[in-house]
Assembly symmetry: C2
Homo-oligomer: 186 residues x 2
């Protein structure tokens, strides 16, 4: 039975969400779809290429309408969407952060933040640093939150989850730093 | 041949640094030391306990003297030490961030930042958020840098490494946010 690329990608996301990143192999994906691994490689040239497509699919599924008018709120929308998209899929933070580090995908959030800051007349040298700082913060927070929740849910560790809802507070701190820098430069 | 706990821990760090996190299993560690896995479990009750000890050893090996007098520079010392300690061992960022998320170890940097901010009379509600925001930023940046450098070094991906040296710039942005918050509250 033949599968097109989007069937294979959809099953890869389901496999990741159900069994975690360690289970997402070309061999297992082929076995679950009843095809040889070579049939998977026909659509995705490598494991990295598959992971990149999975990361972009995780982000696409998390897309929400944009409503904010001012740049600080626009940045919050992008960061919040990114966080929720990653948390919605098992090991999503690990996959998206890894693919972004590989330079193979998951570039939309940083590119959107760069566009927001450029439109707000933020100096070029600050646009790249601010966008990268925000995405590093989001990845760091989401990785902690997802790792902690998954491990507690599996009974692997016991820890309090009380500190985790501070995402917006930390995000506001980074945005305040950017605002201070702009006022200082003005 | 009997091994004490520190021998086993030292070999675990070497195994991690040489072959990466996927290779660090109780079975392999036992095989390389010429003992049954049960001998490893005698010193470390679980894989999570071993990982926690490895993370704390990575941080201990990266310890540097403290010289800064003012809180912003003191925070920079802690964050910079944490980053360098993680980057010095293969998959160090992944291991340290995971253990911290488990709540099983790697707590020294956050505790030290909390102490610095408390000594600087930062309001309690900001101490925890600021320390967590800084550590999330450091983890996010170090995870990208290490993942990118390791993948490029293995020939697994091709990407520019030019953006990676911006660690201090992003850190300064977060610290500026904290400074702005303190001035605003004063």
């Amino acid at each position: 039975m033949a599968h097109n690329r989007s069937d294979v990608l959809a099953h890869a996301v389901t496999l990741l969400d159900t069994h975690g990143l360690a289970a997402l192999t070309m061999r297992r994906l082929g076995a679950e779809l009843g095809v040889q691994p070579s049939a998977i490689y026909h659509h995705f040239a490598s494991k990295q290429a598959l992971l990149a497509a999975v990361a972009d699919e995780i982000l696409a599924r998390g897309a929400r309408p944009r409503t904010a008018a001012e740049w600080p709120d626009q940045l919050r929308e992008v960061c919040s969407e990114l966080r929720h998209a990653m948390l919605a899929c098992t090991d999503g933070a690990d996959v998206v952060a890894t693919v972004w580090a590989f330079g193979l995908g998951a570039e939309a959030p940083v590119k959107e933040m760069e566009a927001i800051l450029t439109s707000a007349d933020v100096p070029d040298e600050l646009v790249a640093v601010a966008s990268r700082t925000l995405v590093h913060y989001v990845f760091g927070h989401a990785f902690e939150e997802q790792t902690a929740r998954q491990a507690v849910s599996l009974g692997a560790v016991e820890r309090s989850l009380e500190s985790l809802p501070d995402f917006d507070l930390g995000l506001a701190l980074v945005i305040d730093g950017l605002r201070a820098r702009l006022h200082g430069a003005a």
